[in-house]
């Protein structure tokens, strides 16, 4: 691969990592208001408890997938051969 191509790939991946990191940062707390309201007993009773635990586990899932996406992108960037 020519140095120019490597350079372009590295640049694109750096942009992608930054964008994905940005998406992750922007949405990391998206479910915090709901979880916070449920912690403060906005909705009580069995159905409310089911809702609360479902939202909390979805927050875990959301954060796990966001981290995964960022890690994947960083790993790919790291794997690009350095220009000597």
């Amino acid at each position: 691969m020519a140095d120019g191509d490597l350079e372009e790939l590295t640049r694109q991946l750096r942009v992608a990592v930054a964008r994905i990191q940005r998406l992750s940062d922007d949405h990391w707390h998206a479910l915090d208001p709901t979880c916070g309201a449920m912690d403060a007993d906005a909705w009580m009773g069995p159905a409310g408890r089911r809702f609360g635990s479902s939202v909390r586990s979805d927050r875990v899932e959301l954060r796990g997938q966001l981290s995964q996406a960022v890690r994947n992108a960083q790993a790919k960037l790291a794997a690009v051969p350095k220009i000597s």
Binding site: Q12, H27, A30, P33, A40, A42, M44, A47, N72
Partner: protein, 712 residues
């Protein structure tokens, strides 16, 4: 708040509203995130599965958001309609809400139904029509509770009265809308009746609480005024309540709790207000015909029973669902009795009827059952002659739990004593009938139910009548032989009561003979033969004493016996399909009637060929022939079952099995007699003891009426 959050069900405002809008926004954001992330990953040729997993999260959040919004709309509706109460805390207002969405909707609908009903009672026909839309929800506990709470205990009383008065006014005006109004009011009251049954049941999940029931009883005792005024326009709260109870279809039945708190108080109210003077022999015709605009609390004299709304406002059939109308014309000159509605409702469950009838109020010497059956006897002649009382009794007494047994025993004593007032023993071994106080038939409507109750206690009756023969002592819980005979005479005066007793007794005889043939059937034959003897004798003598000379029911039964009803083998497997054969041994109660009914029906359809000997003349002959036939039929079944063969005989099939005697012709019959002598076939003989019991049953039964009743 954490301790509260474990038991409290509901939302906190305004935190809940804020959470809903926040969650809706979050769901949309994460949906967009999933799309954007997928695009980034794809462009960078990275694994897209994180974006796909986040899309799944977004899908769940969207569904949750929709659910939350539905819930929020219902909460706002409740706030708008002021359903339920929010209570304030330092961290907002708590609203108690049902957990399930449909229950939340039902609560709103229940409150709406209450508001529509009030508007309908004020004359709004559109509201009346709107109610029919909600009527189907009356079974829903959340709906029922909400409706009852919104109306209040007083509303449950005043609403039916106001609707009924509306209907009366439409009738007076001869308005063309009468048909629609009738249907609308009926539907509204049926809905309220059902909701009342649901909401006053502690087990329903929509229970309004004991205090509500206590308020209902207090409102029931109170006087109220019709909304459209006029002089003499008061009514008692139990009158409309009786109308509601009378509209119950038992789905679901009123609870034992309702009967304990409200039902018993209705009887107590009746006891307090019963006529002070002895009642006339026959109820007078209605003294005051209906005059528009002047409802009367008691439309006639003070001796008549307290009417429900139909009697009070002379509404004819207008409030009686079509299926509940036994005749074309309203019975009893349009008279009604508020206790009939109560008893009608109680009759739908054993719990409810027992709670009502197994009770002696504090301060009273006599039980409510004694009051209803004995002291109140003449009052039943004004309306249904004890039909609904009998139905409630039948529900309360037809099982074999201790309360059923106790109430049945008490009934036998009360009705036994009263029956012996009218039937006495004659020296010629005949019954004498004298209507000493003119009230002999006041409870004629109760007789079919009495027969049904006795049908479910056949073993008790036999044990009572024949305990001395089998040498055992009569348990205290069983009716005395004397009272059993009196009950047979009383119930036997009704064709239905008599017929069902005979049918059940014959079915039971056959079942017991089939079950017990191995252990010897002498005791079975004594009890069955003796009981049938008493039953037939008392029917006959009671009718003759009353001057009835032609008894077609008795003739029908004799004809069935002559035709050979006792010779027909019972196809248990077919009759009780799906029940394993071992369980036939446990046949009891209503199942005897099923066997008897099958036998009767079979004989009436297939006729039978038994023209074998002369027709029976007396009841004793009939009983003897029936049991002989049954014994023979059972013996043949045993012969076949044990592998016996009579090959080539005209009374056997091609395999040598003996055919049921009901299918023999004359040739087969005479050949069978020779054959059984040749082969020593043990055709069962009636022992001398059985013969004696049957022979004496008539005189035994009649002599039960000898002597006087000691006054208690």
């Amino acid at each position: 708040m954490s301790d509260r959050s474990t038991s409290f069900v509901g939302v906190r405002q305004p935190a809940f509203d804020a959470m809903v809008s926040g969650h809706v926004r979050a769901a949309a954001q994460i949906d967009r995130l999933a799309q954007a992330l997928w695009a980034e990953l794809n462009r960078a040729q990275l694994d897209t599965s994180p974006a796909i997993r986040i899309r799944a999260v977004a899908g769940r959040l969207r569904e949750q958001a929709a659910d939350l919004q539905r819930r929020q709309r219902l909460v706002r509706e409740m706030e708008r309609q002021k359903i339920g109460f929010g209570f304030s805390t330092s961290q907002g207002t708590l609203w108690d809400l049902p957990d399930a969405l449909d229950a939340l909707q039902a609560r709103i609908d229940g409150a709406e139904a209450a508001d529509l009903a009030k508007e309908a009672a004020g004359g709004d026909r559109k509201a009346l029509g709107g109610l029919t839309r909600l009527a189907a929800e009356a079974n829903n506990p959340a709906f029922a509770r909400s409706l009852l709470e919104r109306l209040g205990a007083d509303g449950v009383i005043t609403l039916p009265a106001a609707l009924a008065q509306r209907l009366r006014m439409t009738m007076d005006a001869r308005a063309s809308s009468l048909g629609a109004d009738e249907a609308g009011v009926q539907s509204a009251l049926k809905m309220l009746s059902r909701a009342l049954a649901v909401g006053t049941n502690p087990a329903s999940g929509g229970y309004v609480g004991d205090s509500y029931l206590n308020r209902l009883a207090a409102q029931g005792r109170a006087d109220h005024r019709f909304p459209k005024g006029g002089p003499n326009d008061t009514y008692n709260g139990y009158q409309p309540l009786a109308t509601l109870l009378g509209m119950s279809d038992g789905r679901p039945p009123f609870s034992a709790r309702f009967m304990q708190i409200v039902g018993r108080d209705m009887i107590a109210y009746d006891r307090e207000h019963r006529p002070k003077h002895s009642l006339p022999r026959t109820p007078p015709p209605v003294a005051f015909p209906y005059v528009p605009g002047t409802p009367h609390r008691r439309p006639e004299d003070a001796s008549a029973p307290t009417p429900d709304l139909t009697g009070l406002l002379q509404l004819g059939w207008a409030l009686t669902p079509e299926a509940d109308r036994p005749t074309v014309d309203p019975p009893s000159h349009g008279r009604t009795d508020f206790l009939n509605g109560l008893l009608h409702a109680a009759a739908f469950s054993r719990d409810g009827s027992q709670a009502l009838l197994d009770h002696t109020p504090s301060g009273q010497k006599n039980s409510d059952l004694e009051y209803l059956l004995h002291e109140r006897r003449p009052l039943w002649a004004y309306t249904d002659h004890g039909t609904s009382l009998g139905q409630a009794m039948s529900a309360a007494m037809s099982a074999h739990d201790p309360i059923s047994q106790k109430l049945f025993k008490e009934t036998s004593e009360l009705l036994g004593r009263d029956t012996r007032k009218y039937f006495t023993y004659g020296k010629d071994h005949k019954l004498r009938f004298s209507n000493v106080d003119g009230h002999a038939d006041d409870l004629s409507g109760l007789r079919p139910s009495l027969g049904a109750i006795m049908c479910s206690h056949l073993k008790d009756l036999e044990d009572s009548l024949f305990a001395d023969i089998s040498g055992s002592e009569l348990p205290k819980i069983l009716p005395s032989p004397r009272d059993v005979d009196a009950l047979l005479a009383e119930a036997g005066q009704s064709d239905d009561g008599f017929m069902s007793l005979v049918e059940n007794a014959i079915g039971r005889s056959r079942v017991l003979l089939d079950q017990r043939h191995a252990e010897g059937v002498d005791n079975v034959l004594i009890a069955q033969g003796g009981f049938l003897g008493h039953l037939l004798a008392l029917r006959h003598e009671a009718l003759v004493a009353r001057g009835v000379t032609v008894d077609t029911t008795n003739a029908q039964i004799k004809e069935l016996i002559d035709k050979g009803v006792g010779l027909v083998p019972v196809p248990y497997a077919k009759l009780f399909s799906g029940v394993p054969a071992s369980v036939y041994g446990e046949l009891a109660g209503r199942q005897y009637g099923k066997v008897g009914a099958w036998l009767f029906q079979h004989m009436q359809q297939d006729g039978g060929s038994a023209a074998e000997d002369t027709k029976v003349a007396t009841d004793e002959q009939a009983v003897r022939k029936l049991l002989r036939h049954m014994s023979l039929s059972v013996a043949i079944d045993r012969f076949n079952a044990s592998g016996g063969r009579a090959s080539g005989e005209p009374f056997a099939d091609e395999k040598g099995k003996i055919l049921p005697p009901s299918r023999w012709d004359d040739k087969a019959r005479s050949r069978f007699i020779d054959w059984s002598q040749d082969k020593n076939f043990a055709a069962p003989q009636m022992s001398q003891r059985v013969e004696t019991v049957i022979k004496n049953s008539h005189d035994d039964a009649i002599s039960s009426f000898n002597g006087t009743d000691e006054t208690p």
